[in-house]
C-alpha cells in the first residue's frame, strides 16, 4: 500500500471512455466500410467528446480547488 492520492472519478471515467472511443475509431482505420464509418460517427466520436468534456470538468474543478480561478 503506498501513499498515492486516489485518482479522481471524473479522470478515471474520462480515460476509460477515451480508450473505448479510440478502440472503436481503430476499427474504421483497420477496415473502412459503411458500418465502421457510422460507428465512428455515432459511437467513437461522442465517446471521445465526452472524455474531453469530463477531462475539462476535472481540470476546471482542479483549478477552482487551487484557487486559480
Amino acid at each position: 500500500m503506498n501513499g498515492a492520492a486516489p485518482v479522481p472519478f471524473l479522470l478515471r471515467l474520462s480515460m476509460a471512455l477515451a480508450v473505448l472511443g479510440l478502440l472503436v475509431a481503430l476499427t474504421l482505420f483497420v477496415h473502412a466500410g459503411p458500418y465502421t464509418l457510422v460507428t465512428f460517427m455515432f459511437v467513437a466520436q461522442p465517446l471521445l467528446l465526452l472524455a474531453v468534456a469530463l477531462f475539462a470538468v476535472h481540470v476546471f474543478k482542479d483549478l477552482r480547488r487551487g484557487k486559480l480561478l
Binding site: F29, V30, A32, L48
Partner: protein
C-alpha cells in the same frame, strides 16, 4: 522498427482497396493522401492508447502529479481531435469506393454485374472502359457540388439503417428517378453527344427537364443476376 519507419507500412491500401488495379504503382510511389491518413490514424490511436495505459499505471503508482496532468492532455484532447479529423478524412473518402458500396450483401449482384466484362449494362460499360476513373458507384449516384456530396452521405446513412433493420424489399429499386444531370455533367459538353443525330436540338429541353430520361434509350443501367427472394 521506429514509429516513423512503420508509417509507410500502415499507409498501405486497406484490404479490398485497389485490387482492380492492373499495374503496380510507379517507382517512388509513397501512397495517396487517404493511405497516409489511415497510417497516421492508426499510429495516433495506438499512441493515445499507450499513453493512457502508461498514465493509468502512473496514476495508480504515484497519484496525480503536475507533469502527469500535462501529459494527459495529449491522449485526452490533442490526439483525439486529430484522430476524429483523420477518421472523417479517411472514412468519407473510403466510403466512395465500390468495395464500400458492395459490402452490403444486397449490393453484391450489382457489384458483380459492374465488374463483369460480358455485361452490357450501362454501369458495366462505363466500368470496363474506365470512362470513370474511380469511385464508380459514387460518381453516378451523387449529384454534383457540395450539397450533392452531403445529400449522398445522408442517403448512405439511411441505406445503412435500412440494411440493418431489414427495411427494404427485393428486388431493389432506385428511390428517385435517375436525374439526367448526372449523365450530362460528363456527356453534356462532349462533341459526340452534341453532334449525335440521336440528340436533336429540339429534344434538348426535354432532356434537361428530365421529361425524357437518358436511361430510357441507353439503359438498362444495371443487369444484376436475380436476387434471392429471402434474406
Amino acid at each position: 522498427m521506429s514509429l516513423v519507419g512503420a508509417l509507410p507500412l500502415m499507409a498501405a491500401p486497406a484490404p479490398g482497396e485497389g485490387t482492380d488495379l492492373a499495374l503496380p504503382p510507379p517507382h517512388g510511389w509513397i501512397g495517396t493522401t487517404d493511405e497516409w491518413a489511415r497510417g497516421f490514424g492508426i499510429a495516433f490511436v495506438l499512441l493515445a492508447i499507450l499513453l493512457l495505459v502508461i498514465g493509468w499505471l502512473r496514476l495508480r503508482r504515484v497519484g496525480l502529479t503536475g507533469p502527469l496532468k500535462e501529459v494527459l492532455i495529449l491522449p485526452l484532447v490533442v490526439l483525439p481531435a486529430m484522430i476524429v479529423f483523420l477518421g472523417y478524412s479517411y472514412g468519407i473518402e473510403s466510403s466512395k469506393s465500390i468495395t464500400a458500396c458492395g459490402s452490403c450483401h444486397v449490393m453484391a449482384p450489382y457489384l458483380a454485374d459492374l465488374q463483369d466484362p460480358a455485361s452490357e449494362g450501362l454501369a458495366a460499360v462505363h466500368y470496363k472502359n474506365r470512362y470513370i476513373q474511380e469511385h464508380h458507384c459514387y460518381t453516378c449516384h451523387t449529384d454534383y457540388g457540395m450539397f450533392g456530396t452531403i445529400q449522398a452521405k445522408m442517403e448512405g446513412m439511411g441505406h445503412v439503417r435500412r440494411h440493418l433493420t431489414g427495411d427494404y424489399t427485393l428486388p431493389l429499386k432506385i428511390a428517385h428517378p435517375y436525374p439526367n444531370s448526372r449523365c450530362l455533367a460528363c456527356h453534356g459538353a462532349s462533341q459526340k453527344f452534341l453532334k449525335s443525330e440521336g440528340h436533336p436540338k429540339e429534344d434538348m429541353p426535354k432532356l434537361l427537364s428530365g421529361e425524357n430520361s437518358c436511361i430510357d434509350c441507353h439503359g438498362p443501367a444495371h443487369t444484376p443476376a436475380k436476387q434471392a427472394a429471402s434474406r
